[in-house]
């Protein structure tokens, strides 16, 4: 005992306490004192003694009460108490003390020896008791802690003991079971259970086991006999385990195995299991079909038999690696020999099947890729030469010298290809800090590991990325080969070659992604598995998924009641399937509609094989209702859009690449005169575009196809079957598929007529505008004329009064000149000349005033009958032609007389003739021609009837066209002299006389002024 036994000594007498302690200390105990009851309790709590020597007579509470309180306190109850009393020594008191839980009673007086002996005896007993209690507790705890239910029976099967697990398993408290027969408790039967192993145990005296169901749980009971010394059956031990979970797991496993077996059997891939010696242990149906052998013929044979000889070496090597514990997945290709002796190329995945970490079997999944391979080979062949060259030029090779401390010094590198690949020259790379400087940072660990291997003398092939000078990232496959110097025992040189494998990496990545996609698809696929009876389609086996697919909550219920032959929605479908499956042995992706449990309908697709010997069909099914609905929807949408396209009152065409016509609706047929079947697949541009626009449109079309972009709107001309050109206004859109051009869909409207109408309207508008403009101009002119006339009227009045006023002084001057000429008949030459000048200029002034006045006022017309020739002659007398002008007169004497104011018409003729002279300063001919014309004027005026015409014609410079219109306007003149009233006055006078004046002239051809003058009416003459 490492620790001394602690004893609390209690007595109200300190002398006794001290004496007792001395005694006990000497005997090797550790002691503590206490003199009152409360002290005792407190010391017990503090020191936790093993034993208390407790006096009964204490000042506060007596020893019995202290004992009671100690035993009532769970923490203190374990302390041994020996009541020591000199007072209460009778048997009654001792009994009372023991009743209170005291462990001993010592009556004083007691000798020291006796006290010590009693103490030691008591302590020994206590220690033994405690050990026994502990063991019992341990045993009960163990018994109860056992997970399995355990019960013991006697030879009459009565339960004599049972643990907590059993109680829980059976759902009964142990007390209730004790004494009852086990069959009553466990199976609820009045007699021993028939199959109860107990009977056998009793008879054979050997362990028996049994599995039974109780209350929805699966229980496994193991019964062991208890034999007495003579070997007779004395009872039994039942150990019961709840194996429901295990059983479920087993069932699930079985189901899963079933599923995988089904998958294995229905998959077109070959699946093989072989042991580590290469002996085939399992081949699926596809595998058997490939070899043409039966399972019996194949099982147990070495796998090499089926492998083409040149591949056997590789297979063996892999086998050796497996044997060394390589647990990885192999992926490779081999050639195998089919039943017909044909070599088939198989793509193989192999994986080890390990049990407890030991590889026991190899699983092989192989797929016939002969066709794919052949295609690849053909492709490869055709590309061989090109690839060889491109590989040659895209690689670079190098050599580094390795110096002490593994420092690399570049010896040589194929500079050109290196630069092509990395963008750096070898020098640039050196300056940057060597090959490590171009490694893509993420791949640095790969590069370092590679360097480590190379420096360790190992050949290395690594794939890593580099960053090109232009920042692009390329994948390299770098083969490194170290040269080890045996003397120096180190790598002295590294040769290598790198290859740009970026494209391959990208391909791998996309392959990996696609594989992942498929894996996900497969894992998430909701596949139902089934086995049905051939005769009626009775469901024999299914998985939960299939049951759910058919609307059942439980597989059992589904299997119990579902018969497919009664549940095909479409009559004849099952018969059709049976026909196919009997003929081919299988059906693939067969689609059919089924009724669910609730009679709703769904679409299933299944693949299945027939097993005639077993009389069943096995397969995999999936619910494709949604896909079908989507298809139906798509179909109806397609029909709908086709209907729209067909019925649309628009031109709708769809043009594929090379403007191939893909859609050509009814309306377009009508417009172009072509039937859809005549044009579909042909080039739109060739057929419908006018030849001169084809080249340009073809270019545009290429751009459209390339960029998948088209102007939303455009107009162009197309040619119909009859050769007519129609202008079409198009709205276009490009349809793409996965980003690739698919077609241009164009909706057009024939706007030929509209355009024509528009053009017509435009033309009419323009015309109208022109007319309006003309009219406006006329009105403006009239307006201007009015304004001008008004202005002229005012001017005329002013001029008139000024003219009149001028006449008076002119008259006086005129008189004065006349007088002087009269009185100075003999005046000198010069004086006479000046008098003549005065006279002439006075006349000129008078003439100007006269014109002004003539214009300013309408003189009254004094008409009289006068012959035209008479008037002409008088005017010519007054204004005789200059010498250089030839006169031509044609004045017939038999013309009717004019009915005019002769002075006014003379004035007019005078104006015309003088003008004519002035138009011919270099000479010419003046013609005055008179005739009669009965034709009315162009204006068809009411005067109509007969007229006399007098034409005054010169051969002068003529009148420029721009002046023609202004000729008769007042104040218009081309002469430097004159104020431009002559012709205006003439016109006015002629019109006042009921006549008209006209002019014709060609520049350089002279001018002809023509007067049309009224003649004397027969009646009035």
């Amino acid at each position: 005992m490492s620790e001394k036994t602690k004893i609390l000594v209690v007595d109200d007498d300190p002398a006794i306490v001290s004496a007792t302690r001395r005694l006990l200390d000497k005997a090797g105990y550790q002691t503590f004192p206490a003199q009152t009851g409360l002290e005792t309790l407190e010391a017990a709590r503090r020191h936790r003694p093993d034993l208390i020597l407790l006096d009964v007579n204490l000042p506060d509470i007596d020893g019995f009460e202290v004992c009671r309180r100690l035993k009532a306190d769970p923490e203190l109850a374990g302390i041994g108490v020996i009541i020591v009393s000199s007072t209460y020594t009778d048997g009654e008191s001792q009994a009372a003390g023991l009743d209170l839980g005291a462990d001993g009673y010592i009556a004083r007086p007691v000798s020291n020896r006796e006290l010590l002996a009693r103490l030691q005896g008591l302590l020994r007993l206590r220690a033994a008791e405690q050990a026994a209690r502990l063991r019992a507790a341990e045993w009960q705890t163990t018994f109860d802690a056992v997970g399995s239910g355990i019960l013991l029976t006697d030879d009459a099967y009565r339960i004599i003991q049972c643990n907590r697990a059993m109680s829980e398993l059976l759902g009964e408290p142990c007390e209730n079971m004790l004494g009852k027969p086990c069959y009553q408790v466990v199976h609820g039967t009045a007699e021993p259970y028939d199959a109860c192993p107990l009977m056998t145990v009793k008879k054979e005296k050997k362990r028996q086991s049994m599995i039974f169901e109780r209350g929805g749980r699966w229980l496994e009971v193991t019964v062991d006999p208890i034999l007495d010394a003579e070997g007779r059956f004395a009872g039994s031990v039942h150990v019961i385990n709840d194996i429901t979970e295990r059983k479920r797991a087993e069932d699930a496993l079985r189901e899963s195995e079933e599923k995988y077996r089904l998958l294995a059997e229905t998959t077109p891939d070959v699946i093989i299991l072989h042991d580590m010696q290469g002996r085939i242990q399992y081949v699926n149906r596809a595998g058997l079909e490939l070899t043409g052998l039966t399972a019996e013929e194949v099982i147990g044979r070495p796998i090499d038999v089926f492998i083409a000889p040149e591949f056997q070496n590789g297979i063996r090597k892999r086998g050796e690696q497996r044997a060394r514990g390589n647990g990885g997945l192999y992926h490779y290709e081999v050639e195998v020999l089919s039943k017909s002796g044909q070599k088939l190329c198989m793509e193989v995945y192999s994986a080890p099947v390990a049990r407890q970490g030991e590889i026991e079997q190899i699983l092989i999944v192989a797929r016939d890729i002969t066709a794919r391979k052949q295609a690849e080979e053909r492709l490869q062949e055709s590309e061989e030469r090109h690839r060889a060259i491109s590989e040659f030029i895209s690689d670079y090779a190098y050599s580094f010298r390795v110096e002490e401390g593994n420092r690399l010094v570049r010896e040589w590198v194929t500079a050109e290809s290196f630069t092509r690949l990395t963008g750096y020259t070898p020098q640039e790379m050196d300056e940057r800090g060597g090959w490590a400087s171009i490694i893509y940072p993420d791949d640095m660990p790969i590069a370092l590991a590679r360097a480590k291997r190379l420096f360790a003398g190992q050949h290395d092939v690594s794939e890593f990325r580099i960053v090109r000078k232009d920042g692009a990232i390329r994948w390299l496959r770098d083969h490194g080969h170290p040269i080890v110097d045996d003397v120096q025992q180190r790598v002295i040189r590294i040769y290598g070659a790198a290859q740009d494998i970026t494209d391959r990496k990208q391909a791998e990545e996309s392959l990996r992604q696609s594989e992942e996609t498929y894996r996900n698809l497969f894992q998430n696929a909701q596949v139902g598995l089934f086995r049905t009876r051939i005769t009626d389609g009775k469901m024999l086996e299914s998985n939960e998924q299939l049951a759910r697919m058919f609307g059942y909550d439980s597989r059992e219920e589904f299997i119990a009641e579902y018969v497919t032959s009664q549940n095909y929605v479409d009559p004849g479908t099952r018969e059709r399937m049976l026909e196919m499956i009997r003929r081919d042995g299988f059906v693939q992706n067969f689609e059919a509609r089924f009724y669910r449990k609730d009679r709703s309908v769904f679409w299933a697709r299944y693949s299945a094989r027939i097993y005639p010997e077993q009389g069943w069909i096995e397969g995999v099914a999936e619910d494709i209702t949604e896909r079908k609905q989507a298809e139906a929807q798509l179909l109806s949408e397609k029909a709908w859009s086709e209907a729209i396209i067909s019925a649309a009152p628009n031109i709708i065409v769809g043009l594929g690449e090379d403007s191939r016509i893909m859609i050509f609706n009814k309306f377009t047929e009508k417009l172009t005169g072509f039937k859809a079947e005549e044009v579909l697949g042909k080039s739109w541009i060739e057929l419908f575009i006018p030849p001169e626009q084809r080249a340009e449109l073809s270019n545009v079309w290429e751009q459209i196809v390339q960029n998948c972009l088209i102007e939303y709107h455009h107009e162009n001309m197309i040619i119909t079957k009859t050769g007519e050109q129609r202008l079409i206004s198009w709205n276009n859109t490009v349809l793409t598929e996965n980003g690739q051009f698919r077609m241009v869909l164009s909706i057009g409207e024939d706007i030929t007529d509209r355009k024509r109408a528009e053009a017509e309207i435009l033309r009419l508008n323009a015309e109208l505008e022109q007319r309006v403009e003309e009219r406006t101009r006329q009105l403006q002119e009239a307006q201007e004329q009015l304004v001008r006339q008004e202005r002229l009227a005012v001017l005329g009045q002013l001029a008139g009064s000024v003219g009149h006023e001028l006449r008076n002084p002119l008259a006086v001057i005129n008189n004065a000149v006349y007088f002087l000429k009269l009185v100075l008949p003999d005046a000198g030459e010069k004086v006479r000349e000046y008098l003549n000048i005065l006279e002439r200029e006075t006349h000129n002034a008078e003439k100007i005033v006269g014109d002004l006045l003539d214009f300013a006022r309408v003189k009254s017309v004094d008409r009289e009958a006068v012959a035209a020739s008479e008037l002409v002659r008088r005017v010519l007398d007054r204004y005789p032609p200059p010498e250089n002008i030839l006169l031509h007169l044609d004045l017939p004497p038999d013309l009717p007389p004019l009915w005019v104011d002769p002075r006014q018409i003379e004035q007019v003729l005078g104006n015309l003739i003088v003008n004519a002279y002035q138009a011919m300063p270099e000479g010419g001919q003046l013609s005055v021609i008179s005739d009669q014309c009965s034709v009315s004027s162009e204006q068809g005026s009411v005067e109509g009837g007969r007229w006399v015409r007098i034409a005054v014609k010169d051969t002068g410079v003529g009148i420029p066209p721009e002046n023609m219109g202004k000729l008769f306007e007042p104040l218009f003149t081309t002469k430097t002299k004159g104020i431009g009233l002559g012709l205006a006055v003439s016109k006015k006078l002629v019109e006042a006389n009921g006549g008209r004046i006209e002019v014709q002239s060609e520049p350089g051809q002279g001018a002809t002024f023509t007067l049309l003058l009224p003649i004397v009416e027969e009646k009035s003459s």
Partner: protein, 134 residues
């Protein structure tokens, strides 16, 4: 030669009246000059006038009015009207009243002399022959 033809010239412009008078005087006519119609009528009351040569447009009384009134005093008086204006209505009235000629200013003096001669021959006494100058 009994007595020369007496001509009364009426014009509110004295220069016009004077120059015309001087020319006619040179041609041997007996000439009287008045600056206004009123003055002329006064003179007509006092003296026998053969030819009245009067301006039409004059202040107070115009030439046509003068002619009409003068004719009342001396019936058979020959009147020539002179005008620088286009007072058509007035001229027309003068013509209607019996003015023998209407002359526009500036005067065509040869024409005037011819007219006077013609008047002398046609209307005045046969005895009044040409004047002293002829």
């Amino acid at each position: 030669m009994s007595q020369p033809t007496r001509i009364l010239i009426v014009d509110d412009n004295p220069a016009m009246a004077q120059t015309t008078a001087d020319i006619l005087a040179l041609k041997g006519y007996e000439v009287r000059v008045s600056g206004s119609s009123r003055e002329a009528l006064d003179l007509l009351r006092r003296e026998k006038i053969h030819i009245l040569l009067t301006d039409v447009i004059m202040p107070e009384m115009n030439g046509v009015e003068l002619f009409v009134r003068a004719r009342k005093q001396q019936p058979g008086l020959i009147t020539f009207l002179m005008t620088a204006y286009s007072a058509d209505e007035l001229i027309q009235r003068g013509r209607m009243e019996g003015a023998k000629a209407i002359l526009t200013k500036p005067l065509d003096l040869n024409l005037l002399l011819m007219l006077i001669k013609a008047v002398e021959e046609s209307y005045l006494r046969k005895e009044s022959g040409p004047h002293s100058t002829t």
